[in-house]
Symmetry: C2
Subunit: 373 residues, 2 copies
Amino acid sequence: MRKTPSYAGAQEQDLPTPCLLLDLDTLKTNIRTLQAFVAKHGKRLRAHAKTHKCSRLAALQIEEGAMGICAAKVSEAQGLIASGIRDVLLTGPAVTPLAHEGILECARADKGFIATIDNLENATRLSELLVSQGRLLQCLLDLDVGFGRSGVPLENFMSFAAAARRLPGLKILGVQAYAGDVQHIADYEHRREANQKCLDAASSALRILRDSGFPDPILSVGGTGSHVFDCGHSDVTEIQAGSYALMDVQYRSIGSHENAERFDTFAPSLSLLTTVVSTNRKGFVTVDAGLKAVYRDGAIPEVIEPGLHYDWFGDEYGKVSGNLANPPLRLGDKLHLVVSHCDPTVNLFDQFFIMQSKKVVDVWPIDLRGCSW
Amino acid sequence: MRKTPSYAGAQEQDLPTPCLLLDLDTLKTNIRTLQAFVAKHGKRLRAHAKTHKCSRLAALQIEEGAMGICAAKVSEAQGLIASGIRDVLLTGPAVTPLAHEGILECARADKGFIATIDNLENATRLSELLVSQGRLLQCLLDLDVGFGRSGVPLENFMSFAAAARRLPGLKILGVQAYAGDVQHIADYEHRREANQKCLDAASSALRILRDSGFPDPILSVGGTGSHVFDCGHSDVTEIQAGSYALMDVQYRSIGSHENAERFDTFAPSLSLLTTVVSTNRKGFVTVDAGLKAVYRDGAIPEVIEPGLHYDWFGDEYGKVSGNLANPPLRLGDKLHLVVSHCDPTVNLFDQFFIMQSKKVVDVWPIDLRGCSW
């Protein structure tokens, strides 16, 4: 009753709203733009799936040259691998017996699977599990470059690395150094400076590894906001960007180049389609997308139709004001939003409608939606 | 690979986190408390499913005496009816051909189904569809009592009601008057005054209906924040509350009685279970619940364990500070949060773990999650 069988060839007017549209040409341009930039600098791209939660999109990133895919959570990694994706890097910590079992499954199914570790007690338990199963788990040492969310602080890195490298069942491949609090710094130069401090810390960690007889460590870093700086750094081997594929208002609001006020390296391929459902008041209309359709975080969604402004209007609705009269906004009219923050917004939906020339050419399941453990 | 078969008898330590726990005894107490209050005042309860998105929970509300269930969106109504729920009231506007088809399906499957209308052009199209199918649709006239999100303003109500009652295929049963902007006013007395203005407007609308020869109109109003006032009003026939069943910090922060600073009529039956996943920093630990697990809206989540404070720490993580040492918080430890705003948070998950005495006694699918159109 609730699932409609096929939308192939459908037009926007036929779609149930609110829903997510993905412009295929823009998406491919974004993917190819970053891929070419990374390759030009001799780096590799391991695109982050936490943004799009879609195995089909991850497969496209790999088709276009990505060397693997990142997952934030164990269940996300499991979902990617179940769909056939390989060379998955689990970027977040996994500490429970259930999560360790999940990691073991990932390592069994994906020869290129890599986990990250940042705690010796936890790594020891993981090591014991791997040894008991006669398997080897590839790992990056997670370095805290200032954010503090996970990772080993630099001052403890040498002893942690030495101890981790002695654990049987774990094969250390290098370092992860994600500068999570740097990505959205609005000013390009400030962002570059803040990111440089993170890269300096990462270089120090790599030096420790190299000095202890470790020839070619992986250094996996970066996001959409820092990729330009990361690609220019000699120690970096791979980039973890995610939002570049879809884009959102939060990223669009930072400078992509010196003195730039907008981020125009990538264009928004993602938009949210919403319908005008009430026009009884002067000064605004009500649309059918609220908190449950556009996650309230980071910025106000932008209405793509000119002269209009969106604001949330409760869980199920939005308020659109501005130029309502010319052309007149009528009941049933469709509007498009660039969403505030793509990652948590995508996680509210079950599918992307893949659009070319305003028609649905495919529907991609957001199969990793809700994979939050 | 991602779905675990059964959690019956499992303890919290065995659950994948972040996840939603629902304490069955507290839930039933909340449901019975409101049911008894409403019944004592001679009103009926049509509990709102937008909060819990769970047909199984809706069925429990009906078992305990609710006369029906409210749905915010067409797909939510369809999901409820598909699961066997009857006497569903669709509280939100539905204006597209797709939504009209959905309404027709609901009316076919549920003899007690009621839609709401607030626009004559839209109601006319709906009337034409119903007539073409030889069916009758029961409707409430949606009155705008000040929020402006949907509904007909009082000054236009008389002409709208007269025209709507002339439309074939539609059977007008009464009025909906939802005071959406009143529910969370912190001060009890201010909330009572603001709600009284809404009830006065609703009474005026009912008088218009009665004066035109309409004997016993339904008046469907209210939420958790206003139910005490609504139940005391002679014109009100039914209450639409939703959050009372689960509760959240946003509702807990308003006064439930005169001079009260907290809302203690209902207790939080819903909690979010999260795991400590990083302890490398002094002053805080990282837990595995972030924006994608606790919707950032309305309030800061409260940590149920004493002396601890939560804040968001990105899409996947939270930062917990406070009394970390006594007893010491260790990697893998579980914490419980009262969520900020239950409705959009529940909509992030696929299931409730139903708990009694700290053990899982059932798992209820959040089957209406994502039903946002």
